[in-house]
Structure formats: structure tokens, C-alpha cells
Amino acid sequence: MITNRTVTRCGTIPVGLLLLGASLCAMAAEPAKDQPAKDQIDPAVAELTQLSSFFELGAGWVSDDSFKFGEYNGLQDKGVYGVGSFDLRGGARYDSSDTTRWRITGTDLGLDTRAITAEYGKQGKFRLNLAFDDLRRNRSDSYQTPYLGVGGSVLTLPAGWVVPTVPVLSATSPNARGLSGAVASSSALVGGVLTAPTPAQLATSSALIAADLPLFRHYDLYTKRERFEVGGSFLLTPKWELAITARRENKDGTKPMGSVSRSTGGDIAAILADPIDQTTDQLSASVAFHSHANSLQLGYYGSKFSNNIASLTWTNWAQPATSMTMSSAPGNQAHQLTLAARHDFTSKTRLVVTGSYIRNTQNAAYIVDATTPLVPVPSLDGLVVTKAFNLKLTSRPRRNLSVDLGYKFDERDNRTPVRTYAYYDANDAASATPIDAAFSAALGVPATLLMSNVNVNASRPYSRRLNELTANADLHFGATQALRLALGSQDLHRWCDGSWIDCMDAANTKEHSAGLEWRASPNPRLNARLGYTYTRRTVDAYNENAFLALVPLANVSPSTATGGESAYSFMLANGWNGFGPAAGYALTTGNMNLFFPLNNALANSTYQNGNRISELLGMRRYNMADRNRDRVRGSLDWEPGEHLSLQGNVDYHQDKFPDSRYGLIDARDWALSLDGTYTFSENMSLTLFATHEDQRARSNGNTYVTNSAATSVNGNTIVSGGCFATIALRNASNKIDPCLDWSTDMGNKINVFGATIDRKNLRASHLDVGAQLVVSRARSDNAVAGGNYSNSPLAVATAPPGTIAAYYIPAAPLPTVVTDSLELRVNARYALSAFSMLRLQYIYGDMSSNDYAYQGMQIGGLSGVLPSMETAPHYIVHVVAVSYAHRF
């Protein structure tokens, strides 16, 4: 939510911090204790050794509005802004008998990115600090919506809103593309005939466009974080230290967010302005003991997240009489105790042990309405206990040998009870038919409470426990070379307490790694390192039935089943997963026809879910799949002369998933960086760098649909392309049709170039000039192979014989997504005196990008998604700032 304190460009600075700043400024006017008056000090000496302060004031100008250019730097608005910063330091001199020092800083005071810090302390005794930090993040400056109430938690459509349709296609089906005059006036295939819109249809379109388009209004979507921090550390004795920090962060604003509603004919979506009004409070405190051979630290960390917006309600743009509500992130809190202990057995052998216990709770009230007929409790009463333990033993048994052994235990134990809920999708109206009586009985609810289109899902509180061992050894060969051997073994167990069936695809994974690195420094001007690590992750038994944890009725025998079979038991009896038999069409009867009709995948009606949630046979989720990982890292630093230094770095990373037929198959990423710096003189240097990164990921899928006995499309039988010539063959072969396999080959090619040049002491040592240039070019491609069938819109009942019934539509590569950016920064400082200077800053920012995803946000783009008019970032911005800085 945008509040008054954020609407102005420069905003406000917290009063408390201003008072603190004023106090500290006042202190600056007084010589510190034991500090000689300034006129006693040689200015040159003072310049070199004494604390000094400075302030900078000026003005800047931004040539153009651009949220992306100003995404994080506060320079999003065209026009003039204030330049202001200061760094005030005071307190004891280096040779004083006092140790009191203070400092207060401010940066970006004229922008929404301002920060102020203050410190006060007696070195060796205590230190107090305060901080305020603004961070604005721009989300979209092209967003448009007809909804009223943006910024709030209830969004409504204006009174004049007309549900958009494309009348030539349907007079009643909502269709957001009807907002486009071009779409509405174009001919359409209707019943297999290319049909031009009638005058009446055109008039309808014109009327709705005239009514709706003016209702779209532009809103700037951005969020802003305001962070306040206060803390202190106290050296109680030379060996005991106490530290405490409290931080509050308020985050408010709006960001774009999708939303879905059920409408006649399917789901429709709208990009809404999601209101943000959140507060996160954090407190950390620690007491630490430290001696030569031992240290001990006991700490507390608490984090409380509060959300002042519990939900977002919006009107269905396709059915304005209805609205629906989405939950916002629930308030939660976490409290952590940590203990860290170190003991040095000898000067060369050390043991460090750390432990941590976190209690994370959440109990926000549920949002319930007519779409949630079965909600067993009013709130989650969620509890996650996270325990961590680390042990690290390091030793240097010989001067040239170091070894370390580590053990890590990290457990996230979600103790939230599993409960079963029933709901209708996206504000769907309940059907008139009750669910299977056996299901109602199993749930213990009245037979007429839940209707056939209800989803019955059980929660899955995910837990995981990691046990990891590491062993590393470094062996130095003389002063110039070293080898490092690193071994690791990891055991990860995942589970859901209380779930009726194992909820995890991979309940147990093991990962072993071995790495070797060579380092060499034959002389001070040449340093090289090259390392290789191989990691293999194996899954004890990938569980393709884990999805059933969501649908407990899969373990209940429907009243229509025989022999008490449930979906789960029938699967087990046949040795199938949810995909069922990898077979073509066959007429089925009895339980087979109930659970896997016509050899199709497990019927979602038998587990009472609106969607088929079983996965493909051979699908492996990549974070839990068998994986072989190779990683190479290398670098070379070379200084061929006093003036030149060169660096090269290479990173290579490859993951292969050998047992994954579907899902992510492999991913590879390599990057090469070259840097060079030439120092012409003490006053001039030039640095150039270039990085090329090549990322690639390949995945497989299959776009199977259900087998059927249908032999034609409105009497038309011919399939063009694909693996089967007729509709009958195609429909009988959906689960075995190789033409339904598809694959993606996603790649990013990134080139980043940079140059930095600094020239100092120009114009009789008055002028320093520097410039930085960064050019970034990114290309994202996706070569999709495979395809799917699509029934021809011409295959109508009246079509002439020989009409193609369906086409096999080969997949096509996606358009290249391009992002090019350039940023040039030039800074010049002209010294007016030893204590003052003029500073000139110039920034040139240039970004051009295209992304086909934005097509779907435009009018005429998607039929089921209300356009938000957002556009791909593009800007050319000049910034000029002039300021006066004074040091004192």
C-alpha cells in the first residue's frame, strides 16, 4: 500500500534520525577530549591523519522517465533531483588518550534510495549504531488496468465495464481479445467457414471497446522497503562481548500479480496490482567469549513477519457479478537459538562446533467462503522446527599439509498436522451431483456437502534431514604449488509426517563428491589454479506415486469399485504408477474401466481432484533425480610487467540426469572471463574486461492426451503429418505415440564487456576524471522439437470428403529474447581548494529488449487473460549531476 510517506519523490527522513544527526553534528563543533585545537595542527598532517568530514550538495537532472533504468537507483523519474550526501566523523584523534569516536553518514538524500547511518562508541568498550535505509524497487511503469481500488485489497470493476467478447466467434463467451478492434473486425473461422463479422457484431464490438478501453488506467507499480536498525556491541571484558541488533523493515507498494477465476468455458486470468503492506521485525543478540584457545558464542535471532493485508479480492472481469479472494502471505515468526564453540587443541588443531534450533510458527486465520466447504480448522497452527549441527575439525599436522573434517546435520521438521480440505477451483460453482458416497463417508461429511467437481486435498508438510560429511586435504609442494583433495558425502532424507502415503518423489538421496584442485604460483607475477569436482547423486528409489499424498481419497474404494479396490491398491496390484499402462486404446471393463479407462492415465475422478496430477512414466523432478555433476574452475593471474596485469577465469558446470526420461535431462553452463589492467602512470589506468557465458538446459516432455475410440472429427478421418494417418489410429495410440514426445533446448548466450579508465591530477592536479562503461548483451533461445495434433477448424460435418481432420503441428523455436544494455558513467572532480571540490557526474543508460511474453499482455493477445499493457523494458536516459563537496 502506498502511504503518504512514500508518495513524494524525495520522501521523508525519520525524525529520530534527523535528531540524532543534529546531535552528532553539534558534537562535531566541539573539539574532542584531548584533541588539540585545529589551529595547532599542521594542515598537511591533519589532512593525512585526522578524522575529517564532508558534505556534498547539488542537483541532478534525469532526461526521461524509466522504471527499469531506475529500478533500484531511485532515478526513475524525469526531472530534477537533489544530490545530497554527507559523512561526518568526530571523536578522538589517533594519539588521544580517549577512544570515543562517532560517525554519521547520509547518501542519496534526494532520492528514494537514501540511507543514513550513525555510530557512536568508545573503541574497546562499546559501539552503538543506528541506520535507516530506503530501497525502492520499480516493478512496472507501463501497467494498465480497469480495476478500481489499486493499492487496496479490494479491486472492483467500474460500473461501465462490459464483458469483452469477439462476437463473430461467440456472442456470449468472454474473450479479452475482443478489446482489440482489429481482432473484432477480422473474419473468423466459424463452423469451418471463414466468416466476416456482421454489422451488428461490429457494432457490439465497437460499443464494448468504447466502453472498456477508456476504463484502463495507468498505474506505476513499485515497492519500497524502509529499514530501520538500531544496535550496539559492548566489550564487557577483554574476553566477553555482548551484541544486540534490532531491525524493522516496512515494505509497501504494489506489484503485478496473476489471478485466475472460473468462467463459463474455462478459466480466465487478470494481472492485478497486488497490494503490499508488510512489516518484518528482526532481533539478534549474542554474547560471546573469546580467549586464545577457546571461543563460545550464544546467540538469539528472532524474525517476525506481519502482513497488514490478509487477502486480495477482485471482481471477475468475465462475470462481474462475482468476485473471488486470494490469500496473502500469512504472518509468521521464527525464533532461533545458536551456539558456537571453538577449541584449539594446539596452535595447529582446531575444533568448531555449532548448533542451531529454530522454531517457526504460523497461525493466520484462514479465508473461507462458499468455495471451501470443508475446512477442518480455522487456522493452520503450523510449526516447523529446524535443527542444525555442524562440526569442523581442522588441523595442520605438517607445515605443508592441512586437513579438515566436517560434519553437518540440518533438519527441517515440519510438525504441522496433515489435514484434508475440500474446495472448488477458482470460484467454480458446485455441481449438482454429490461426490461418491464412499468418499463422503471416508471424510465423515454429509453426503450432500461435497459435489462432484470438488477437490479433496490433504496438506503435505515437507520435512528434510541432511547429514553430510566432508574431508579436505591441502598439500603444498614447496612454496610454488599446492594440491587440494576434497571429498564429500551427503545423505538427504525427506518426508511428510502424517501423510497417508510417502509424499516425496525421492525419500532418500545420496550424494558423493570428489574434487581435485591444483594451484601454482611459480613467481609472484604468475598464479594459476585449476580444479575439477565430480558429484554423483543417487536416489534410493524414485517414488512415482508420491503425488497421491495430495489426494487421500485415492486410498478409498469408490462405491462403484469392486473388491474394495481403491485407486492406489489397483495401481499397486497392476504394478503401475498414475500414468497406468503404457499401451494403446483398449476397451476396458470393471475396475480397469473405473481407474484406467481405455488404458488412460489414472482417472482423477477416482481420487477426487479437478486435474490429473499423475506424472509421465519416467518423469524425474530434477531436484530429486539421479544426477552426475561435473565442475571445472580455473583462473590465471599474470603480471607480465609492472604496468600490466591480466586475468583469465573459466567456470564450467554440467549436470546430467541419467535416469530422467522426462523432465530436465541435462544442464550446462560455462563462462570465460578475461580482464586486463594497464597502468600508464600513477595518474592513469585502464581496465578492460569481457565475460562470455553460455547456459544451456534441455528437457523432455510428452503431450499425451487420452486414448479414445473416436474415429473421426465430425466425420473427417485423415490426419496430416504426425505418426498416424487416421484419427482412429491416433486416438488409439495417445500413450504410445512417439510424435507426442517433445523436447526443449534452452540457451542463454551472454556477453558482458566493461572498461574503466581513471585519469588523475589533470589541470595542475585539480582535476580527476574517471569513466566506466558496461555493455551487456543477452540472447535467449529455445529450440522446441516435437509437436502435437490439432483438430482442423475446417473439419466440420459438412466438409467435403478428404478434408483433413487434424494436423500434426510441429513445434517451432521461440523467438529470440534479446536484452541489450549499455551504461556509461563519467565522473569528474575538480578541486577548488584543498577542502572543496566540484563534482560532475554523467550517466548514459541505454536498454533495448524484446520478449514474446509481453505479446500476451497486449490488447488482442490472449483470449483468457485481461491485458495489462506491460511492455518490455526499453530506455535511453541521460543523467547529469553537479554538486559541491566540502571537507572539513
Binding site: 485466475v260 558464542q297 509468521n332 517457526n360 592441512s402 474446495y423 515437507y462 557465458e693 516432455g701 521461440l814
Partner: protein, 323 residues
């Protein structure tokens, strides 16, 4: 003694780098941490040297009233041969007992030993055996103690220090989707503890998720409907240093989602054929505009048009992350 009244002796009294404590007890016995002790060094090292060091007296390392404050010799050792101007094997002056820097200096372990003599504990408890320690990265590889403001301790300038070695991350920080590193509103140490940690990748907390939750507490839950990869590891889907895809995603949606979801509409192939100008239906090669809607799972926010709350939902009807 008010050395400021005599500039030359004063300059002589201020010298050489002063990191922290002594390397060992023997050095401590002979090191003189006072200004008089510093004077041994400053006879030669005055402000005209290539790397001026006098600004150190503006820093905590120069505040002599703090009895923990070191002198030149505390860190560099008594350096007797160096002081006596003894030529070393390369016919140059024998260097101080301990020299600091990334290359051509004392062993990294020796340098670290000096610094840790005072700065042991706290965030540095796990330095031994950490990634940087094992890579022979000395403290002075990142820290500059002879100047008034160490760049690595300032959020705005810290990334450039880290990027000196982590060049791939430097490039990623200039992509279209990033954290606010380049804007100076976030430092690498907001997420990483370069001195060693119990978490992976030197993260400041025990795990990736714990680290992310320090700023993104709204993602912490626990939620009624959890999304398994989210509770597992944020980096299953996100790449934190920069991405070509919004929200720092590792890959574009819908394909990122389809790497795990192959059921129902997750099974469908989404390709250029499903864009508005794609050949997803064919009528003599022409697709009438009125029929040519792109597929919603492919355009705009793709899967996230509808499945909005992928980090978890607390709505009783939110199992599909729609509410």
C-alpha cells in the same frame, strides 16, 4: 609527546601498515605498538610512498588509546633485517617479516595468523578450512587497512572487490533481472560470509532458505500448501546473482515448471507454434486473426498467470497455488 609540533618526527612516527595483533607470542615480546615503535618504520615510509598509509590513523587500527590497537611491528613483525636495510637475495631490501597482499607476499596462513590474532571469533570462527582460506586467499586479498575506508566494508563498493575474482557473478549482475548490487543497495555480505560459514556457498546462515528468509520472510511460512522445491532450496528455481529471466529464475516459464510437472496441462508442448503468429492451426497456411489467440500458458506470465502463489498458499482452496 606531542609529535604534531615536529612534523618530520611525526611523519616518522606514523608508518607502515598495521593490521592487527602479533603473529605469535615471540613477536609480541619485541613488537612496539606505540607511536615511538611506529617511528622505526616511518623514518623511511612517509606519505610520499606509492601506497600512502597515514590514513590508517583515521581508522580503528590507528587509535592508540585502545590498548588493543596494533603498531606497525605488531603486524609486520620487528623486521630487523628490513630496518637495517639488509639486501636480500634479489639485491633488494629484505622485506619486512610479514608482508600482506594477494600475491608476492607472506603465506596467506601467516597473514591470516596476524589478523586473527585479534580478530579471531565472531564471524571468523569458521575461517580455518573455509573456501577462501583453503584457496590461500589472505585477509589483505580483500581488505585494505591502510586507507581511511576499506572498500570491502562499504556496501556500494564491496561487490567490485568480490568481483575481482568472481567474474561470472560480475557479468550476471548486469543482466536484466538482478538483486540491487549494482545500485549499491545490497552487498555480497548480505548473503555471504566470506570468512567461513556453516551454510553452503559461504552463506550467512545454515541453509540457502534461511539466508533468503532474512529479507524475504513472507516466503518462510509454513504454509498450508507447501511447494516441495521451495521448502527444499530456493535455488532450485532461482539464480541469485542475475538472470535473463524475470524474478531471477533459472529458466523461463513454462518450461521451468514443466521440468517437474508433466500432468494435465503441464504435459502440453509450448513452442513458437503456440504464439499468436504461430502455425498452431492451419488453414491454407493462414490463421485468421480472430482465431489466433496465443496460448495463455506460454505468454504474459505463463504458468504464473494462474498459479500465482508458487511459494506456498495459506488459503484452504490454494492447493494449486491459485489462491
Amino acid at each position: 609527546m606531542n609529535i604534531l609540533k615536529k612534523r618530520a618526527p611525526w611523519l616518522g612516527a606514523i608508518m607502515l601498515g598495521m593490521g592487527f595483533a602479533v603473529a605469535n607470542a615471540q613477536d609480541a615480546a619485541v613488537a612496539d605498538r606505540t607511536l615511538a615503535g611506529d617511528q622505526v618504520c616511518t623514518r623511511c615510509h612517509d606519505e610520499t610512498v606509492a601506497k600512502p598509509i597515514l590514513a590508517m590513523y583515521k581508522t580503528p587500527h590507528g587509535l592508540k588509546a585502545d590498548e588493543r590497537t596494533p603498531g606497525c611491528q605488531s603486524c609486520h613483525g620487528p623486521s630487523v633485517a628490513h630496518v637495517k636495510n639488509v639486501a636480500g637475495s634479489g639485491k633488494r631490501r629484505t622485506p619486512p617479516d610479514v608482508t600482506f597482499g594477494l600475491h608476492g607476499a607472506s603465506d596467506a596462513s601467516v597473514q591470516a595468523g596476524v589478523c586473527l590474532g585479534c580478530h579471531e571469533g565472531g564471524k571468523r570462527t569458521l575461517w580455518m578450512g573455509s573456501q577462501h582460506e583453503s584457496q590461500d586467499i589472505p585477509c589483505a586479498g580483500c581488505h585494505r587497512v591502510h586507507i581511511a575506508a576499506d572498500p570491502v566494508l562499504t556496501k556500494a563498493t564491496q561487490p567490485e572487490v568480490c568481483f575481482a575474482c568472481h567474474k561470472t557473478q560480475r557479468a550476471q549482475a548486469h543482466l536484466i533481472s538482478t538483486h540491487p548490487l549494482a545500485a549499491g543497495k545490497m552487498g555480497c555480505t548480505d548473503c555471504h560470509n566470506p570468512h567461513g560459514s556453516t551454510g553452503p556457498h559461504l552463506l550467512v546462515r545454515n541453509s540457502v532458505n534461511e539466508t533468503c528468509y532474512t529479507c524475504h520472510a513472507e516466503k518462510r511460512g509454513p504454509f498450508l500448501w507447501e511447494h516441495s522445491p521451495v521448502t527444499d532450496d530456493c535455488t532450485n528455481c532461482h539464480t541469485p546473482h542475475g538472470s535473463t529471466t524475470a524474478s531471477l529464475l533459472k529458466a523461463r516459464v513454462p518450461w521451468l515448471c514443466q521440468e517437474c510437472h508433466s500432468g494435465d496441462h503441464g504435459a502440453q508442448v509450448d513452442s513458437g507454434a503456440n504464439l499468436q503468429d504461430g502455425a498452431f492451426t492451419t488453414v491454407d497456411g493462414i490463421n485468421p486473426l480472430a482465431n489466433a489467440a496465443a496460448r495463455a500458458q506460454l505468454a504474459a506470465r505463463a504458468c504464473l498467470n494462474c498459479h500465482v502463489l508458487v511459494h506456498g498458499s495459506n488459503h484452504p482452496a490454494g492447493a494449486k497455488f491459485q489462491r
